[in-house]
Amino acid sequence: MDDAARDVARAHRPFPLGRGLLWLAVMLIAADFAWIVAGNGNFGWPVVASYLTTASVLEGLSVTLGLTVVAMTLGVLIGLPIAIARLSNDRLLGGLAGLYIWFFRGTPLLVQLIFWYNLSTLFPEIAISIPFGPTLLHWNTNDVITPMTAAIAGLSLNEAAYMAEIIRGGLLSVDRGQVEATDAFGMTRAYALRRIILPQAMRAIVPPTGNQLISMIKATSLVSVIAMADLLYSVQTIYNRTFEVIPMLLVAVLWYLLVTSVLNVGQGWLERRFARGSERGQPA
């Protein structure tokens, strides 16, 4: 046997003819598709270009972004205590958290938004009072519930239910021995959670939270039904006037894609950061 000639270091890779042909076919189809899209005047690319950075579209975009940030932040802040309550041994707390998640995940977000917007038909007045006792503070519901507050309430309370489950999953992913160590060292639950458990749970929490954030960007478009002037609502306002439905929707689509692409990059960066945190093989 000629081992020198059969040394695997000398091996060549056969030319991948099949894969080459596949690439060619896919490129052809893509080029054809692009040609059709570019050649079809109904897409109205010049109209898209002229409205892409119109003031009302940019205002709508900023409302979408602002709403996303506020609703997501509130969703995390409300979701965290719900996740903790859900994991507690306390039947009452666990049950209430379960009930919250069951209700807000089990009903359509669109219905929740319309519900909050029409809260005044259910409760004309909102009051803080002692149960069956005197009223301490009260407001007229129509003064409190604007499209903005209805949108924030609807989106964040819904998001909190999903974030609670994501955070719960993250907390459960932490090794049981860590909880034992914090118990044995006499740490309170709150201290252990903040210093030991949550930092380790973050690895499991961040990726699905990035997913939720991207979902939220798109979910905010639902607020257009309660006359909240977000990105979708502002392009709808324009096409209701000009009847250029498809070009205006393309304006919205391009902005949504741009924002989610930026977030994708950000999520990838965050995940690499956390992966580095877990692979501490090399000294920092």
């Binding site: 090794d175 021995g177 860590q178 034992e180 160590a181 118990d183 044995a184 060292f185 006499g186 740490m187 309170t188 639950r189 201290y191 210093r195 030991i196 930092p199 380790q200 945190g277 877990s278 692979e279 501490r280 093989g281 000294p283």
Partner: protein, 254 residues
Amino acid sequence: MSLVRIRNVHKSFGALEVLKGIDLDVAAGEVVVILGPSGSGKSTLLRCINHLEAIDRGVIDVDGAQIGHTMRHSRLVKLSAAAIVRQRRQIGMVFQSFNLYPHMTALENIIEAPVGVHGEPRAAAIAHAHELLARMGLADKATAYPRQLSGGQQQRVAIARALAIRPKLLLFDEPTSALDPELVGEVLATMRDLAGQGLTMIVVTHEIGFARDAADRVVFMDDGHVIEQGTPAAVLEAPTHPRTRLFLSRFMRQ
């Protein structure tokens, strides 16, 4: 008076009774090694001492205070979670699987409880931690993360972490059982050092050699009972109970 006083302790997990009436005393400064076959209840007993497990019947006192309970107006009441947490702060524990905090360096692991739980000034805690690491032969590992350390090194950091709270009592739950055989020796050597320094230690282990060299007293458990106890020489060289003899003969043959 004994530092740890255990009287008629029973503990069940569901239908399985793991502890069937344990009586045991540990004096301050004493090193007690608990031996026994797997499932004899020795780890459970250890975990009951710092209330990681609640006992079903009996009394455990540590340093004169009843664990998990207190007398209030001549009625025995269960302590609140916060009070139980406070009781544990004088008891250090070393686990079979180390349970170091993986997101913290060795030094951060050691100072976490002293600074965050006991309110020790950070600078003093760091100085103490460096001193403990040096005692463990790990002076150069202060900035290493647990993942960067061998099992034996991790367990020595865990021992330093337990010592850092200046415990009145130190519990070891099979500290060498998760280690590769060649790493067992370094951890046992560290524990022998500690045993000679007047610390009160209760060690659950399978290491007969450690019991012989380092223990003041060996306690043999089987099927939820303490069946024999005495000096290492008495229990290991001249066991009276047939089951102790059977257990030891298996180890001696190895």
